[in-house]
Amino acid sequence: MWALALLAPLFPLSLGAADQSTAQSLCSELGRIFEQHRRSVVRVYATDELGVRVGSGFFIDPSGLIYTHAGTVMSAEDVKVSFGGRMTPAQVVTIDERNGVAILKVDCASPFIPIGDSDQITNATPVILIGFPEDYEVSSHLGMIAARERQHLGKYFATSHFRANMAVQRGEGGAPVLNLAGEVIGILMARIGDGTACHILPIRAAEKTRQDISRFGELRPGWVGGEVEDAAAAHAGSTAQILTLGPGTPAAQSGLKAGDVILSIDGIPVTRSEDVLDAAYFLTAGDLVEVRIQRDGETRSISVKPTTRPVLPVETMALGN
């Protein structure tokens, strides 16, 4: 008894030491990730007739391919990237207005950040951003994924974005967002409000751009030509009901009909009309996709070959510095 009484006050001390150890371990890991990947992050300078825009970007492969923010290089006459203490001319490979990503290329070997799986990111996942805020040196931020969002202030995104509680600053548009394994899971696209939170494009959505360029040398966003709405009642777990089909569109030619309830598109589950947003984003013109539907109580699969998505009005994107 005497021995237990003497040991009792030590338990809180032991727990405190454990907490401290965990915190030190976390700090050490964050520092390691930052040091490992800071050299893969670049500052992008884009000059046009209005001046010089400055953003962040990062290498995604060892041959000098860079993801950055489309708003930085759009309409630029001259693009340069700064990394490793030198300034290098960069070529704009493509600008994807749908997701706001631009791909640049510099002619040199480069370090790079491995691509992670953004589909595995759930709410409350801690993330690290590495970027160039204003004219400061490369810096890191620690934040947390709050949710996946499809819209902001009533306006839909082209595909869903992460909303993260993380302070961001001007000049960091296009910066990589990493998980604790040191893999990039998203790209900083926009700040929310005064910059204490932000929207992050999942890296899988950016990879769609790179895949199109890699396969075809151009962007080929797919389009089927249907409109959906939410039905009053769910059928086979989905309320996403086809409202209309444009005449002569791939949807109409494939055999889809108004009133069909969509269950999945190309393997991506659909349970309500908003889910079509993400499913449609990853369609590629010319690639056959399977659309699973519920019609007259029966589940069917219909193959559709999307065409190139027509140019749709893109919402205004404020560079808002």
Binding site: R53, F157, E229, A280, L283
Partner: protein
């Protein structure tokens, strides 16, 4: 003849006239000092005019041409400078060095387009929202 004799005497006299021994040592340095002093104290337009008019000095009639050319150049320069400053006040694509606050941008009229004014310094990019489509339920 008298005048010829007086001139001959004067020449004989001058032949034996010599400056101080140190005169030639400082001659060049002193000459340059005086030249610089004259340049400093003369107004710029006076020097420019002298140099400009010396180009036409062989022909006296060309002096008038030189004067009118110079006046025309001055007037043209003045008009050009005035026009440039007026354009700077009204043109959307102009540098504005007056305030760092000019780097703050308002919303743009089309995707990714910067506002139609030239910013005073580097414009650091971080938009207020991502791109989006008006119709989200089409596929």
């Amino acid at each position: 003849m008298d005048s010829e004799e007086s001139i001959s005497k004067l020449l004989r006299l001058k032949r034996y006239e010599q400056p101080r021994p140190d005169y030639f040592e400082d001659f060049l340095a002193e000459f340059q000092l005086r030249q610089r002093a004259e340049v400093i104290h003369r107004p710029f337009w006076n020097i420019a005019w002298d140099r400009f008019s010396s180009l036409f000095s062989p022909l006296p009639s060309m002096r008038l041409v030189a004067a009118s050319s110079f006046a025309a150049a001055v007037i043209a320069t003045g008009v050009t400078l005035n026009w440039s400053s007026q354009e700077a006040k009204t043109s959307p694509a102009t540098w504005n060095l007056s305030s760092a606050a000019q780097t703050r941008l308002e919303s743009a009229p089309s995707p990714f387009t910067a506002p139609k004014k030239r910013v005073s310094s580097l414009q650091y990019v971080l938009p207020t929202r991502p791109t989006g489509y008006a119709s989200a339920r089409s596929f």
